[in-house]
Amino acid sequence: MQMRMASAISTGLHAAVLLWALVSFSGKTFEVTPAESLPVDLVSEKDFSEMTKGAKQAPKLEIPKPLVEKIADAKPAEEIAPKLTEKQELKATAEKTPEPQPLPKPDPIAEKLKKQDEQKQQAKAEPQPLPPKKPVQKQPKFDADKIAALLDKRDPQRNAATGAELNSTPSLGAASGNAARLSQSEIDALRARLMSLWNPPVGAQDADQFQVTIRIRFKRDGTLDIGPQVMTSGSGARFNAIRDSAVRAVLIGQPFTMLRPDHYDIWKEIDFTFDTKEMFSNIPAR
């Protein structure tokens, strides 16, 4: 009675909902508006790691050159001690007179030709009576208001980008990139020197599980600008011993003459990681 009517109502309701769903729930395919195609340059890993420092509006060059404002010192700085002895040697060489260079032999045919040429030129020059009037050169007016335009607004304390040769036209590149990089041989040389000088405490327990990163700031001559900063934090007597040995290695190793001053910008600050695992990698594990 009551329940039957309720069932009928319920069935009717469901049928209505289903009918509505059949009409409205038809799967619509997603309309994807085609995106505008963009030209994309693929940058290889090598290109990315060698990103050049550059300007946004620079024309695209085939081979990117870094912006160079200042030619770096060509020769590496020498140590102070040998300089004193060199001076005496220089005195001795200065007294030598330069060897007289042999004069070139006069060529008779060439001289004749020259004479003929001179005669011709004289003949040509004669008909021109007056030299052309020099245009009146405008004296540049001094305008005190425009002094500001003449000022170099760049930070005077900035480090001018240095390189082997001047290059005033920047190429495309990132703000903090450097195309010229340390060559592998330079890095290897630095690594080899530091590793040879590094003498970590070998007998320490778990000695092959320590890494100490040290920030080294160089001067242009390859000596340290400020003391080596330890970037890795740690504690314990073993860590301290290994850290101190790494700092010692850096201090002993200067000057690092294997770093060319041409690329001072690149190696003026280096984070070098002393890894005990590398040190002991040749020792077979027990």
Partner: protein
């Protein structure tokens, strides 16, 4: 080979044809059974809900009316006579049961008052239990559908996804065009499960509280009526 073509050749369902009917029709028969079962559950749940809503509103209104008549000072005999033939609601049934017991004790040869109070209370207790049982009937269906519906739907979904993965393996292609229709079809089972379960749970909670309220009201009336009858017994005895 274009993945869409693969989908078309391997699966009967393509992404462009996802209407409700095709979703159902291309499903595995177990999934179909789950869907149909859940649909029947949903129909049943709503039927119960409609029935109970009507029943509770009616009995509430009838109780209001009865209480008004009861406390209006009308003679209880008269009230009994008008209701005794066919008590239409719980409170009337309670009243009639108690009055019948009272009358039987008085109209019988032995005018035994000893234990009459207890008898009346017992009778009313039994009547309340019976009436509450009547009010509560089929509410358990709602609870069951509410708790089991999602799981049944989930079972259908898992089964559908299993079969659709099998067809993916057969087509050796994992493009979205191959995967999507099977998954959509499988998820449809869970959707139906939730559609059945959510109203069931809501209705169950609502009706359970309403039954509780009605039962409280019946018990209150029973206590009051018992007090009145007990006063009568003491006066007469």
């Amino acid at each position: 080979m274009n993945p869409a073509d693969v989908a078309q050749s391997v699966l009967p369902l393509t992404s462009s044809d996802l209407s409700l009917f095709t979703l159902f029709w291309h499903a595995h028969w177990i999934v179909k059974a789950v869907m149909v079962g859940l649909l029947v559950c949903s129909v049943w749940v709503w039927a119960i809900a409609i029935d109970k809503t009507v029943l509770y509103t009616r009995s509430k209104r009838a109780m209001d009316r009865f209480e008004q008549a009861f406390w209006s000072g009308q003679s209880l005999e008269e009230l009994y006579r008008s209701l005794s033939s066919k008590p239409t609601h719980s409170m009337a049934a309670l009243f009639v049961a108690a009055m019948r017991e009272w009358k039987r004790s008085f109209e019988g040869q032995a005018r035994s008052f000893a234990g009459l109070q207890m008898r009346i209370e017992k009778v009313m207790e039994v009547t309340i239990a019976r009436e509450v049982e009547r009010l509560e009937r089929r509410l358990l269906v709602l609870a069951t559908v509410g708790s089991a519906g999602p799981f049944i739907g989930l079972f259908g979904t898992v089964w559908g996804i299993m079969t659709s993965f099998q067809s993916i393996a057969a087509s050796k292609n994992t493009s979205l065009a191959v995967v999507a229709p099977g998954i959509a079809e499988a998820l449809f089972a869970t959707a139906i499960g939730l559609v059945a379960a959510i109203p069931a749970t809501i209705f169950y909670n609502k009706f359970a509280s309403e039954v509780n309220k009605l039962a409280q009201r019946l018990e209150g009336f029973a206590d009051e009526f018992a007090a009145i009858l007990s006063r009568q017994i003491d006066e007469r005895g």
